[in-house]
C-alpha cells in the first residue's frame, strides 16, 4: 500500500489542476455555446507570462502571478467574451475554426518567442515537506488542492444560491427572455468568460513548475480538461471537477501499474493518454439527450458557396493543369515542395468533402494520412508494387474513417468535433509508434516508385506521378460531389432531419462520407512519404509530418480558402505549402501557425466565410438587394428580429 501513496498524492494534485481547467471550460461553454478549443493554449499563455514577468523582468512571484492572471485571465476573458458574442450566430464550422485558430495562434506565438524546447520553471509555492501517515506531501500540493477546492465549491455555491448564478444557467437557453427579466445576458456572459479564463490561466501557472514550460505539452495537458468535461457531460460543474480528480488519479496510478509491468507496445502510452480515451468513450456512451448542444438554435442561414460558370471552370482547370506541367521546369530545387503541395491538394479536397460538402466536423484528418503513409510504406517493404501499395494505404484508412463514423452517428455538431479531436490524439499517441505504423523510431523507409523504364524516382519523374494521382483523385471527388450522393450530402449539410424524413438514412451517408474522406487522405499520405524517402511522424506543425496539430492547421486554412471543391483545395495548398516555402525555412515554420491562426479567427468572426468568397459575394449581395431584398423582408419578421438580438 505504502508505495502507492505518493502516486495518489501526485494524482490528486494534478487532478485538481485538470479539474480547475475543466470547470472553467464547461462554464464558458454553458453560458455562450462556444466550446473553447484554445482553453489549453490560454493556460500555456498564463504560464509563459508568469515566466516572463518573474524570470526575465525579475518581479516577485506574487506580483508576476497577479499580472499574468490579469492579462491571460481577465483581459483575455473580456476579449473572448466579445468574440464569443459575434460567433454565437455563426455556423458550427466557424465556431470550431475560430477557437482552433486561436489555439494555433497562441501556441505558434509562444513557440516563436520562447522556442520549442521546454524551459524549467522554479517552483514558487512552498516546497516544505510534511509527513502524513507515512507519505510525504509538499506544501505546494496542499495549497493547490485546497485552492482549487475553494474555487470550485465557491463557484458551485454561487450557481445554486446567487441571482446572477442562476441567471448564468438561463442565459444560453433563452438570452432574450433573460434580458426581459431584467438581467443583462451580457453581464452574465462576461462574468463566465472572466472566471473561465482565469481558471485556465491559473491551471497553466500551477502546472508549469512540475511540467516545465513547453507550449505544446501545456496546451495538450490542459486537453485533459476535455476528458474531465466529458465526464460531467459538458454541463455539470461538480461532476467535471470529480472527473478531473479521477483522471489525475487514474493517470498517476496507471503509470505506476504499467511502469511495473515492463511491457512494450501501445499500452505504454496509456497513462498519459487516459484523458483522451476517457473523452472518446464518454462521448460514445453518454446518452445523447444529456449532450445538449448549446446555442445551436440561433444560427444564421448559410449562404450557398459562390459558383463559377462552366466556361470559367473549364478555363481555370486547363490553366491550372498547364501551370502544374510548367512548374517542374522553372522551380528547380524547390520541386519537392511542389510535390508536397500536390498531395496537400488531395488532403484539402477530401477534408472539404467532409467539412464543406457534408457539414461534418473533423479535427483528425491528418491521422488518416498517417495511416495511409505508414501502410503504403510497409506494403512497399513487403514487396507490393508501388501503385498497389499506395492504394492499399488508402483502403486501410477506410475502416478507420468508418470507425470515426460511430461517434458521428451518435453525435452532431460540437460534440462530434470534440470526439474527432480526441480520436486523432489517441491514434497519434497510442498507435503512431506501433509496429503497424511508424514503429519506435517514428519513421520508416518509403521509397519512390520504379515504373517500367520511366524515371519516376527522380524529383521530376515523381512529380508527374503525384500530379497524375492528384488529378485522378480530384476528378473522382468532383464526380462524387455531382452524383446522387453529392446532392444528398449537400442536402444533409443543410438539414439532416429533412434528408431522413425524405427516405435516405443519414447514418449510412455519414459512414460513407467519412470512409471516402479517409480513403483520399490515406492516398495523400502514401504520396507524402516518398518525397523525402521516409514516412515520418514528425511532431509539431510541420507540413509533411503527421502531428495532430496539422489537422488543426488544415481546418483553419481550408476555412480561409473557401468552399469550392477543387479551387479551394488548390488555394489552401498554395497558402499552406507553397507560399511559406519561399520564406526562409525557420521563419516559415514559426509564422505559419501565427498567420493562419489569426486569418482563421478573422474569417470566422467576419461572417464565417472565406476571404475569397467575401470578395466574390459582396458584388452578388449588392445585386440581390437591388432586386428583391429578401434580407429586409427577413428582418421584418418579429421572431427573426428576436433571433438576431441574441
Amino acid at each position: 500500500m505504502k508505495e502507492w501513496l505518493p502516486f495518489i498524492v501526485a494524482g490528486i494534485t494534478n487532478g485538481s489542476i485538470y479539474g480547475l481547467a475543466a470547470v472553467g471550460l464547461v462554464l464558458t461553454y454553458k453560458t455562450s455555446g462556444i466550446f473553447n478549443f484554445a482553453h489549453g493554449a490560454q493556460a500555456a499563455l498564463g504560464a509563459y507570462l508568469m515566466f516572463e514577468f518573474r524570470e526575465r523582468m525579475g518581479m516577485s512571484w506574487p506580483l508576476a502571478g497577479f499580472l499574468s492572471l490579469l492579462l491571460a485571465g481577465v483581459v483575455a476573458g473580456l476579449v473572448l467574451e466579445r468574440a464569443a458574442n459575434v460567433l454565437a450566430t455563426c455556423s458550427l464550422a466557424a465556431r470550431v475554426t475560430a477557437t482552433v485558430g486561436l489555439l494555433v495562434f497562441i501556441q505558434g506565438s509562444l513557440i516563436a518567442i520562447y522556442g520549442a524546447a521546454s524551459v524549467p520553471v522554479r517552483p514558487f509555492l512552498p516546497q516544505k515537506v510534511f509527513r502524513f501517515g507515512g507519505v510525504n506531501v509538499r506544501g505546494e500540493q496542499i495549497i493547490v488542492v485546497a485552492l482549487v477546492l475553494v474555487a470550485v465549491v465557491g463557484l458551485y455555491l454561487f450557481f445554486t444560491k446567487a441571482k446572477l448564478g442562476l441567471a448564468v444557467q438561463a442565459v444560453v437557453d433563452d438570452p432574450a427572455l433573460l434580458g426581459l427579466a431584467g438581467t443583462s445576458p451580457v453581464a452574465v456572459r462576461r462574468f463566465a468568460w472572466l472566471v473561465g479564463s482565469c481558471f485556465a490561466a491559473l491551471s497553466g501557472m500551477l502546472l508549469a513548475p512540475t511540467l516545465a514550460l513547453d507550449a505544446r505539452l501545456l496546451t495538450l495537458l490542459v486537453f485533459f480538461a476535455f476528458g474531465a468535461a466529458a465526464v460531467g457531460a459538458f454541463s455539470s460543474l461538480p461532476l467535471t471537477y470529480v472527473g478531473g480528480i479521477g483522471l489525475g488519479l487514474g493517470a498517476s496510478l496507471a503509470t505506476k501499474i504499467i511502469g511495473g509491468m515492463k511491457i512494450t507496445g501501445p499500452i505504454q502510452g496509456l497513462p498519459a493518454n487516459l484523458p483522451f480515451i476517457v473523452l472518446f468513450i464518454a462521448l460514445l456512451v453518454t446518452p445523447t439527450r444529456k449532450l445538449v448542444e448549446r446555442g445551436s438554435q440561433v444560427v444564421r442561414r448559410p449562404l450557398p458557396p459562390v459558383t463559377f460558370g462552366r466556361r470559367t471552370t473549364a478555363v481555370a482547370a486547363a490553366g491550372g493543369l498547364v501551370i502544374a506541367l510548367i512548374v517542374p521546369h522553372v522551380v528547380n530545387a524547390r520541386l519537392p515542395i511542389y510535390i508536397t503541395g500536390l498531395a496537400y491538394v488531395i488532403l484539402f479536397a477530401s477534408l472539404g468533402l467532409l467539412v464543406r460538402t457534408s457539414g461534418q466536423a473533423s479535427l483528425c484528418h491528418i491521422a488518416f494520412a498517417a495511416v495511409g503513409a505508414s501502410t503504403a510504406a510497409r506494403a512497399v517493404g513487403a514487396g507490393f508494387p508501388w501503385p498497389l501499395a499506395v492504394l492499399i494505404g488508402g483502403l486501410v484508412a477506410i475502416p478507420i474513417g468508418a470507425l470515426l463514423a460511430i461517434p458521428a452517428i451518435r453525435l452532431s455538431g460540437i460534440y462530434l468535433a470534440i470526439a474527432t479531436f480526441g480520436f486523432g490524439l489517441v491514434i497519434q499517441r497510442l498507435f503512431y509508434s506501433s509496429m503497424f505504423m511508424f514503429g519506435g523510431t517514428f519513421a520508416i523507409r518509403s521509397p519512390r516508385p520504379h515504373l517500367g523504364g520511366l524515371h519516376t524516382d527522380t524529383d521530376v519523374g515523381y512529380y508527374h506521378v503525384v500530379l497524375a494521382v492528384t488529378v485522378a483523385c480530384l476528378a473522382v471527388m468532383v464526380l462524387i460531389r455531382r452524383s446522387r450522393m453529392g446532392r444528398l450530402l449537400r442536402a444533409f449539410a443543410d438539414s439532416p432531419t429533412a434528408v431522413d424524413a425524405n427516405g435516405t438514412n443519414t447514418n449510412e451517408l455519414k459512414v460513407l462520407v467519412f470512409s471516402i474522406a479517409a480513403f483520399f487522405s490515406g492516398i495523400a499520405g502514401g504520396l507524402l512519404g516518398p518525397i523525402t524517402g521516409q514516412a515520418a511522424a514528425a511532431s509539431g506543425i510541420d507540413v509533411g509530418g503527421f502531428d495532430f496539430s496539422v489537422s488543426l492547421l488544415l481546418l483553419t486554412v481550408l476555412f480561409v480558402a473557401g468552399r469550392q471543391p477543387v479551387f479551394s483545395a488548390v488555394v489552401g495548398s498554395v497558402l499552406l505549402v507553397i507560399i511559406p516555402s519561399y520564406a526562409t525555412g525557420e521563419t516559415a515554420v514559426k509564422w505559419n501557425p501565427i498567420v493562419f491562426g489569426s486569418l482563421a479567427i478573422v474569417a470566422a468572426l467576419f461572417g464565417g466565410r472565406s476571404l475569397i468568397e467575401w470578395l466574390a459575394s459582396s458584388r452578388r449581395l449588392r445585386e440581390r438587394s437591388a432586386t428583391t431584398s429578401p434580407q429586409a423582408e427577413r428582418t421584418a419578421r418579429p421572431d427573426l428580429v428576436l433571433e438576431a438580438a441574441r
Binding site: 449562404l303 450522393m485 446532392r487 444528398l488 429533412a498 427516405g503 449510412e508 440581390r624 423582408e633
Partner: protein, 270 residues
Amino acid sequence: MSVTAERLNPQTTDAPDLAVDGLTVRFGGLVAVDDVSLRARGGVITGLIGPNGAGKTTTFNSCTGLNTPTAGTVALGDRTLNGHSPAWRARLGLGRTFQRMELFDTMTVQENVEIGREALLAGKRRWTGRLFSTPSEADVCGREAEEAMDHCGISPLATKTVGDLSTGQRRLVELARALAGDYRFLLLDEPSSGLDVGETEQFAAILSGVMEREGIGILLVEHDMALVRAVCSYIYVLDFGRLIYEGTAADVLSAEIVKAAYLGSEAVEV
C-alpha cells in the same frame, strides 16, 4: 364540382389510413402526449388542432419516428411503424413537412424539390444505386419535381436559392418537396404559419387540389381556423397532451370545450 361536396363524399381510394392508438410520450416528468388515439383516413384531409404546447408536433414526431413513444402504436394502413427509422417510414409512404421548415437552404428550389424524390429513390436502392442515379431515375426526379413545383405555383422560382425566399415561398417549397416524393400519406405541420391571408387562401386551394389529384390522406396541424374549416373533413382537438374533442369542422368550431381551450377559460371542466 365543389370542394365541399368532394370532401364530404370522398372518393373510395386505396390510400391507407394513418392510425394512432393509445399514444403516450413522456419527456422526463413531462407528459407531452397522453393516451391519444386518432384515425386519419386516406383520401381526405384531417385536422389536428390545439393551443401551443398541446402535443401536436410531438404526435407528428412519433408518427415519423423522430421520438420514441412511451406507449402506444402508430400504423400506416396495415403496417405498424413503431421501432422503425424515419427514413424507413418515409419509404413506406409517410411524408411530412416541418413547422420550423427543414429546407436545404444553400440549394435551389428545383434541387430541393428533386431531392424529395431522389432521397426516396436512393433509400430504396442497394449498393451503387444509393450513390449514383441512372438516367431514367434522373428523368423521374426531374419530371416529378417539375410537376410538384407547377402544382404549388413555384415554377418561376426554380433557379432561386431557397435561403433567399420569403416564408410563404419557403412553405410552398417544402410542400412541393413532399409532393415530389411518392407518398401515400402526408403530415403537414402548421403549413400556413407565417403566411398572410392571401397566401393562406392560395395554400388552401393548393391543398384541396393535391387531395383531389393524388387521392392521398393528409393530417394537418394548423392554427388558422379559416384554413382548417376550408379543407378539413374531420378534426381532432388536443389540449395539454390529451384529446379533448373530435368531430366535423362545424361541430368542433362551435364546441364550448374547444373555445375554452383556445381562450384559456377555466369554466369548462375536461
